[in-house]
């Protein structure tokens, strides 16, 4: 442990309202702590910048999985274990269930939350590609207001999000429209378990009469934030799958993805590898349609 824990303050306000009040009173002073599986790593290595924490782990009002006729709503405090174990998510949002199931270890999954995974805003995080492919919305809450925005607008840059310092992520909302879609997800990590993605791709597509009429692709580790691959989508939408133009289409889609990806060389992999494998995964998806 390279931090002196006596130098940190941790409060567990009884209600969400109280958490929001404290955030509003001193914007930027506190950091919320959900499962802590990200923050504790930083604590251990002595790199935790802020010193005051508000725990939201115990707040039941953030830990839910609900269904409405048109949507599935997931509380920011839902754990990966909650998500993996949810029948409705497994049935209707298999990419999300799958990504939750290969996040960290079972112990991580028991504590780590969906909210923490999104708000930590790592470009390599596991659930964002699925949430991008499913076109999720996120609800942000503060003492003064509540607002909803498309998840694709949430990540602004490397570890930068649209969330204000007095705000919390409250709910992730996903439409229930994917019964007829083809769905694909693949994580290429440094190993088969306990791995951070070198590259990952989640994609959904609706193919009718051989034509792609709806497609969305989300990727991890291909840019400084979770990437919605709109250039590749644009190339593919409306196109015919199989048949003569397929090879050209695959090539165009690969090129589009390579064009919009901006990965880096880092301790886990190389930019070249990430782009090539990202393109290979996209191709694998397209050939499965």
């Amino acid at each position: 442990m390279r931090s002196d824990v006596t130098q940190f303050e941790l409060t567990a306000p009884a209600t969400l309202t109280e958490v929001l009040r404290r955030l509003a009173d001193n914007p930027g002073r506190h950091t919320v702590l959900a499962g802590g599986t990200e923050l504790m790593v930083a604590l251990n290595t002595g790199r935790l910048a802020t010193h005051s924490f508000l725990s939201i782990q115990h707040l039941r009002e953030l830990r839910f999985i609900r269904e409405t006729p048109d949507t599935i709503q997931i509380g920011a405090g839902a754990t990966f274990t909650d998500i993996r174990g949810s029948k409705i998510i497994c049935a209707e949002l298999p990419l999300l269930a799958q990504s939750a199931s290969w996040t960290g270890s079972v112990a991580n999954q028991n504590r780590g939350t969906l909210g923490g995974n999104i708000c930590n805003a790592s470009p390599a995080a596991d659930t964002p590609p699925a949430l991008l492919a499913y076109d999720a919305n996120v609800t942000l809450i503060s003492a003064a207001s509540m607002r909803e925005l498309p998840y694709r607008d949430f990540h602004l840059g490397y570890k930068r999000t649209a969330m204000r310092s007095d705000e919390l992520l409250h709910t992730i909302t996903l439409p229930r429209i994917y019964a007829g879609h083809r769905q694909y997800i693949r994580k290429v990590g440094t190993r088969n378990a306990q791995a951070i993605s070198k590259v990952a791709l989640a994609a959904i597509a609706l193919v009718e009469a051989g034509r792609i009429i709806d497609i969305r692709v989300g990727a991890a580790s291909l840019a400084d934030r979770p990437l919605r691959c709109t250039a590749a989508e644009t190339v593919l939408i409306g196109q015919t799958i199989g048949g003569e133009g397929m090879e050209a289409l695959v090539r165009k889609a690969r090129a589009a993805l390579a064009g919009e990806a901006e990965p880096i060389d880092d301790i886990r992999s190389t930019a070249k590898y990430r782009i090539a494998v990202g393109a290979n995964l996209l191709e694998e998806f397209l050939r499965s349609l």
């Binding site: 930083a42 990965p263 393109a279």
Partner: protein, 790 residues
């Protein structure tokens, strides 16, 4: 062997119950009254002169004990084979993370700010970080980059040690080689390299030290307890650091959570440090490293480079060969000369070489000293050889199997060091069985067909090799190991040895040997916790020597004990446990105690010439054939081992469950070595010193590992046993890379072989890759940014 033989059965591990119940106490669980905590201030640069040490105003230094090189009462050295390695850097540092100053405080937390509050000013000097850079400095006469001066133990500038090994008389061999290369149908050359590997024991290095002083403040004695393999190595180190006789330096091994060689030489460093702090503050001092410090600052497997040049006839007979073997020793000599020695002797493998020359050297670089790691040089040179054999086969147009069959050593042949193989050796049979167990031939055919239509390419490959058990050459004679067996008043035998348990089964197998030799139940035998005040020096727990060498000593001591009881206490030749107890009780009442001691004696005469590097290199060898099946996914360029068969002849298998565990663990470690575990270095510093980015394979990455044994009893070990501990580390890497070549048709020569490396070779076969202009900078981690350092 009697029918209900305890040797060859799998009784419960002696310390298993305590471990399972969480009762076993590791050093971090222990506390002594008034104990303080220690920390190490380390160099932030690779090489330079220490100009000034300043202490921050923000810390109340009067609360701390501070130790620098000038506090060392004896010699400022960590002794191994030479004395080049300082206990604490005094004027100059030669690698990143080199210890310069030690701090202790009653509150562990208070060490964080204090360590950060010590500022060290350097005059930086240029460093060398690879074998090639180190060689270049010597070749170019670049004195600025001569980072190690030489020694009186055979070292020269930048080179800790060199060996020149010939398969016979030097001149004859050179002549033979010249002819062989002239007459060869093919000359096959290849260069192979291996990377550093972290031992990654579960328990990090840690110790607690105590120090007593006389009225004048002079140190009278020290005691260090902790996680380690070789208590007497630490005793030796302490005698120099403190200028004390051996009996005043007591060392106690505590329960040790894994070692793999990583706790062979390193405890001498951390143990000396803690003892110095205890001396300074007058309290017991505990130092435990966290994972990041342990990975960054302690030893790893030596990186290596091997060059083969081989003369072959068109029918696949080896006519002659030269092998140039080089290892990267890091900044100080430590154990590099012995690692080099084992690597050199294993370099020719299990083959007949009419003429062979091996030239070997250990080079100095400005990285933390590399040290002992399971296999000890052999995995490096055997990787090269077994990849090269597949290459030779390809050139000659034979299968890898047939080429090896035409060149195997067998009973009666001489090894490359001139050692006659008098004990039976049957590599032909091992190879036949291993390939059969694996289904090798069937797969070879099937995969070739299936691969045509799949983006997942499958392949099979194997390696054939051996591993010498015990110390090299005259080593065992020099060690002169001693063991005692005593019988307590209650009639229960207790084994006194310095051999340590660190998860591999020492306690259990030695008790099995004693139970067998004494015809007593296993449960009646106990083994003492190694404490140098109590146990004799039976040598270090390394070199696959415990089962064979120490086991044999235990067996002999037990037989001697029985003779004593038969002669002086009327123990009948066939006794029951009750009769044994009675006779022992009688003897103890009469003589006060009952103890039997024996010293090492070679079972058969062993001849070894250190000058010529010829003779009986090891008392016995374990022989093995390992077969790997791999799948290479051309979408991700990931190679995965999908099945592994490990067949070995290790003499009598003493404890089948433990033996199987050793092999499975070694194979897993070998898979990590081959495909996953890469140390990322920058100016001599390991950047990925965390388990999240030093990628050790998990159970989800490992295939089913099938372990098979052939048992050919050996005269050298108890009940016919030979060594097994290191062997399984040697075979996996070459078998896997051979399989990858079989799967893809592409030959790779370096490990670790990561998906990125495969990609670089395959990219041209698939879609052209786009982008990727950034230079590789391992210090960046976009996910966590935790590695970004100054």
């Amino acid at each position: 062997m009697p029918e209900n033989s305890i040797l060859g059965s799998s009784p419960l591990r002696k310390e298993g119950r305590a471990k399972v119940l969480g009762e076993a106490k590791y050093v971090d669980d222990l506390s002594l009254p008034g104990m303080w905590f220690g920390a190490t201030v380390r160099s932030t640069i690779a090489r330079g002169k220490i100009r000034k040490i300043t202490f921050s105003q923000d810390v109340n230094w009067s609360e701390y004990a501070i130790v620098t090189a000038s506090d060392v009462p004896g010699e400022n050295t960590i002794v191994h084979l030479t004395r080049d390695h300082p206990c604490l850097a005094a004027e100059q540092v030669n690698h990143p993370e080199e210890p310069i100053l030690l701090l202790a405080h009653p509150d562990k937390k208070a060490l964080l700010a204090a360590t950060a509050g010590v500022h060290i000013d350097y005059e930086e000097l240029p460093g060398v970080f690879t074998i090639e850079e180190s060689e270049a400095a010597v070749e170019n006469g670049d004195t600025e980059r001569i980072i190690w001066p030489g020694s009186d133990a055979g070292g020269t500038a930048n080179c800790f040690k060199q060996y020149l090994m010939y398969s016979a008389d030097a001149k004859d061999t050179e002549q033979g080689l010249a002819l062989a290369f002239e007459n060869a149908d093919y000359i096959v050359q290849g260069e192979y390299s291996t990377g550093a590997q972290e031992q990654l024991y579960i328990e990090n290095n840690g110790v607690i030290a105590e120090c007593n002083k006389d009225a004048d403040g002079r140190v009278t004695d020290v005691c260090v307890r902790g996680s380690m393999q070789c208590p007497y190595y630490l005793v030796h180190a302490l005698t120099l650091v403190f200028g004390l006789p051996e009996e005043k330096c007591r060392v106690i091994q505590t329960e040790t959570g894994g070692a793999f060689g990583g706790k062979e030489d390193f405890p001498s460093v951390i143990g000396s440090h803690a003892a110095l702090l205890a001396m300074k503050c007058g309290h017991p001092v505990k130092i435990t490293y966290d994972r990041a410090e342990d990975m960054a600052a302690t030893t790893k497997r030596h990186p290596s480079r091997t060059r083969h040049r081989t003369a072959v006839s068109k029918d696949g007979k080896l006519l002659g060969g030269t092998i140039e073997f080089a290892i990267d020793g890091g900044a100080y000599a430590t154990l590099s000369p012995v690692v080099l020695s084992r690597g050199t002797i294993h370099a020719p493998g299990p083959y007949k070489w009419p003429y062979l020359r091996v030239r070997a050297k250990a080079m100095a670089t400005n990285v933390p000293p590399h040290g002992a790691f399971r296999g000890f040089g052999a995995p490096q040179s055997l990787f090269a050889l077994e990849r090269h054999m597949d290459k030779v086969a390809k050139v000659v147009g034979l299968t890898p199997e047939e080429l090896r069959r035409r060149n195997f050593l067998s009973t009666g042949d001489c090894t490359a060091t001139g050692q006659p193989l008098n004990d039976p050796v049957d590599m032909q049979k091992l190879l036949t069985r291993a390939l059969e167990e694996h289904g090798y031939h069937e797969k070879l055919k099937r995969f070739a067909e299936e691969n045509k239509h799949s983006s997942i390419k499958r392949g099979v490959g194997f390696a054939t090799f051996m591993h010498g058990a015990g110390f090299t050459g005259s080593g065992e004679r020099r060690l002169n190991s001693l063991v005692h067996v005593e019988v307590n008043a209650d009639g229960r035998p207790n084994l006194l040895v310095s051999s340590t348990e660190f998860g591999q089964g020492t306690n259990t197998i030695l008790c099995q040997v004693a139970a067998q030799a004494l015809s007593l139940p296993y449960e009646n035998i106990s083994i003492a916790q190694p404490d140098t005040r109590v146990v004799p020096n039976s040598g270090p727990t390394v070199a696959s020597r415990t089962a064979m060498i120490v086991g044999k000593l235990v067996e002999r001591a037990c037989k001697k004990l029985l003779t004593t009881l038969q002669d002086y206490a009327s123990l009948p030749p066939q006794h029951t446990p009750g009769e044994f107890r009675k006779a022992a009780g009688f003897y103890v009442a009469e003589h006060g105690s009952l103890r039997s001691s024996v010293r090492y004696e070679p079972v058969k005469p062993i001849f070894w010439d250190d000058e010529l590097y010829r003779g009986d290199a090891y008392p016995a060898y374990a022989w093995a054939v390992y077969v790997a099946e791999v799948a290479v996914d051309l979408n991700t360029y990931m190679a995965t081992v999908t099945r592994f068969d490990a067949l070995q002849e290790v003499g009598k298998v003493m404890h089948p469950v433990l033996a199987k565990g050793q092999v499975e663990g070694g194979v897993a470690q070998g898979i990590g070595y081959a495909l996953y575990e890469k140390c990322v270095w920058k100016n001599g510093r390991m950047l990925n010193n965390q388990m999240t980015n030093y990628i050790m394979p998990t159970s989800a990455d490992l295939p089913p590992i099938h372990v098979h044994f052939e048992e050919v009893p050996s005269a050298h070990g108890p009940g016919g046993a030979k060594g097994i501990g290191e062997l399984p580390m040697d075979g996996p890497a070459p078998a896997i890379l051979n399989a990858i070549e079989n799967a893809t048709g592409v030959a790779f020569h370096s490990i670790p072989l990561l998906p990125e490396d495969l990609f670089e070779r395959f990219a041209s076969f698939t879609e052209r890759a786009h982008g990727g202009s950034e230079e590789l900078d391992g210090s960046i981690d976009r996910d966590t940014r935790t590695e970004v350092d100054a």
